[in-house]
C-alpha cells in the first residue's frame, strides 16, 4: 500500500443558514495515509487561505473522540465508514487511492447549518437543559453519549430518539417522580425542536461513535408507556 494517496473531495459549501449551498470539488494529491481526516481538511484550508479564499468551516476540538464537536457525513455515513469512532479518529488509510468522497454536514431540520460542514446543535442543549443538574448525575457505562448528533444525521427520519434515550438512561439515579417529569420534558422538547419519529431502522446505533445501543430506546419507550398509562 502506498504511503500517500490521492483523493477527490466533493465538499458542501454554504455561506450561512439561509443561503443555498452547493458542492465544491477539491483534488488532493499525496495525502499521508497516517494523517487524520480532519488534518486533511486542514490541508485543504491552508491551500484555500493562501489563495485568499474562504476556508471550509467544520467542528473540531479534542481529536480523540470524547468531545463530540466534530462530525460530517462521508458518502452518506455520519463520521465516515469506520464504526464506533468519530470523524477526528478517522484516518486516511481507511480510503482507497483515487477514491471520491462526498462530504456533507449533518442534515436535519433540528440542526440548522451555520456554515459549510458546521451545524447548530443547540437543540441538544435545550433538551439536556430539561435536566438542570445533569452534570452531577453518574453516566451509565453503556450510554456515554458525547452529544455529537450522528444519530440524528444517520436516522432516515432525523429522529433524536437515541440521544434522548441515552440521556433518559442517565436519569436512573434520580427519585422516580422527578425522573418521570424530566423524561417527559425531554421528550416534549425533542418534539418541539422538530426532530422526526423513530421508525426502528437502527441506523443511529450503527453511526454512534460510542456504540450506544437501541436497547436504550426500548427502555425509554417502556418507561414512557408506563408513565402515560398510569
Amino acid at each position: 500500500m502506498p504511503k500517500e494517496i490521492n483523493l477527490t473531495l466533493k465538499i458542501w459549501r454554504q455561506k450561512d443558514r439561509h443561503s443555498p449551498g452547493k458542492f465544491e470539488v477539491f483534488k488532493i494529491q499525496g495525502i499521508d495515509i497516517d494523517k487524520s481526516f480532519l488534518e486533511m481538511l486542514d490541508m485543504v484550508n491552508e491551500k484555500l487561505t493562501k489563495e485568499g479564499r474562504d476556508p471550509i468551516a467544520f467542528g473540531h476540538d479534542c481529536s480523540d473522540g470524547t468531545c463530540g464537536a466534530c462530525g460530517a457525513v462521508i458518502n452518506g455515513q455520519p463520521h465516515g465508514p469506520v464504526r464506533g469512532s468519530s470523524l477526528c479518529q478517522l484516518h486516511i488509510r481507511n480510503f482507497k487511492d483515487g477514491e471520491t468522497l462526498v462530504i456533507e454536514p449533518w442534515r436535519a431540520k433540528g440542526f440548522p447549518i451555520i456554515k459549510d460542514l458546521s451545524v447548530d446543535r443547540s437543540a441538544f442543549d435545550r433538551i439536556i437543559s430539561q435536566v438542570p443538574d445533569a452534570q452531577a448525575l453518574p453516566v451509565p457505562k453503556d450510554a456515554q453519549c458525547i452529544n455529537c448528533g450522528a444519530c440524528v444525521a444517520a436516522c432516515p427520519n432525523a429522529s433524536a430518539m437515541l440521544f434522548v434515550a441515552a440521556k433518559v438512561s442517565h436519569l436512573n439515579s434520580l427519585p422516580a417522580p422527578e425522573k418521570k417529569i424530566r423524561m417527559l420534558n425531554m421528550v416534549a422538547q425533542m418534539d418541539r425542536e422538530g426532530f422526526g419519529n423513530c421508525s426502528n431502522s437502527y441506523e443511529c446505533e450503527a453511526a454512534c461513535p460510542k456504540e450506544i445501543s437501541v436497547v436504550h430506546i426500548a427502555h425509554m419507550n417502556k418507561y414512557y408507556r408506563q408513565v402515560n398509562l398510569s
Binding site: N75, G76, N197, A206, H219, N221, K222
Partner: protein, 219 residues
C-alpha cells in the same frame, strides 16, 4: 393529547399494528378452511354471518383500528419528511447500519396493502354470494364459488400473491417494530427480528397457498 407526542403516536401505530396482526392470523385460520371443501368453508362463513350485530361491531372496530393505524402513520411520515429536510437528503444514499429493504418500503407496502384491502372487500365480502361469479359448472357454490372463480384467473391470483408478499414485507419489519416501540426489549432481542421474519414467511406461505391451490384445482 396523544397526537402531540412522538412516542405516543408511535405506540398508537404499534398497538393498532399488533391488533391488525391478530386479525391477519385469525383471517388466515378461516381462509385455510378452504382446504376442507366448499361445505365446511361456506358453513364457516355462514356461522360468522349468523353472529349478526356482533359481526357488525367486530367489523366496525376492525375498520377503526385500520384507519387509525393509517391516519397516525401518515402524520408521522409527514413529520419525518419535514425533519429530514425534504425527500432528497444526502448526495449518496448509503446505509450506515443494517437498514432493511422492508423498513425502507414500509409506507409503500402499506399503501399497496390499503389499496388491496379495498379491492379485496369489494371482490369477496361485498360481492353477491349467490351471483353469477359464485357458479361452478352451473351450480352456485356461494363464497367458495367466488373464491374459486377468482383464483381460476392467473392474473387475479397474481394480484393476491403480490399483495400477500407486500404484507409479508410489512410484517417482517412491523412485528419486531411493535416489540421495540412498545418497549419490550429482552436479552433475546435478536431472536425477535428472526421471529418476525419467520412469522412473515409463514403468513406469506399460508395466504398465497390458497390461490395456488385453487388454480391447480381448476386447471
Amino acid at each position: 393529547m396523544f397526537l402531540n407526542s412522538s412516542i405516543a403516536k408511535k405506540q398508537t401505530v404499534a398497538i393498532t399494528g399488533f391488533l391488525l396482526i391478530l386479525f391477519v392470523i385469525t383471517h388466515l385460520g378461516g381462509n385455510l378452511l378452504i382446504y376442507a371443501g366448499p361445505a365446511v368453508f361456506n358453513s364457516y362463513a355462514q356461522q360468522l354471518h349468523s353472529l349478526g350485530p356482533l359481526l357488525l361491531i367486530a367489523r366496525a372496530l376492525l375498520l377503526i383500528i385500520f384507519l387509525l393505524h393509517i391516519f397516525v402513520i401518515h402524520i408521522l411520515i409527514i413529520q419525518n419528511i419535514k425533519a429530514r429536510g425534504g425527500l432528497k437528503r444526502y448526495a449518496i444514499d448509503q446505509a450506515t447500519g443494517k437498514r432493511t429493504l422492508a423498513q425502507r418500503m414500509m409506507p409503500w407496502s402499506g399503501l399497496y396493502i390499503f389499496v388491496f384491502v379495498v379491492f379485496h372487500i369489494l371482490d369477496f365480502a361485498a360481492a353477491h354470494q349467490q351471483g353469477p361469479r359464485s357458479f361452478i359448472q352451473g351450480t352456485s357454490y356461494g363464497l367458495y364459488g367466488l373464491v374459486y372463480n377468482a383464483f381460476k384467473d392467473p392474473v387475479h391470483s397474481l394480484l393476491y400473491i403480490v399483495a400477500v408478499y407486500f404484507l409479508g414485507m410489512h410484517l417482517s419489519h412491523g412485528v419486531q417494530s411493535v416489540v421495540q416501540t412498545w418497549g419490550f426489549r429482552p436479552k433475546w432481542a435478536d431472536l425477535i427480528q428472526r421471529g418476525s421474519n419467520y412469522f412473515a414467511v409463514m403468513m406469506v406461505i399460508g395466504y398465497s397457498s390458497i390461490p395456488i391451490y385453487i388454480y391447480w384445482l381448476s386447471h
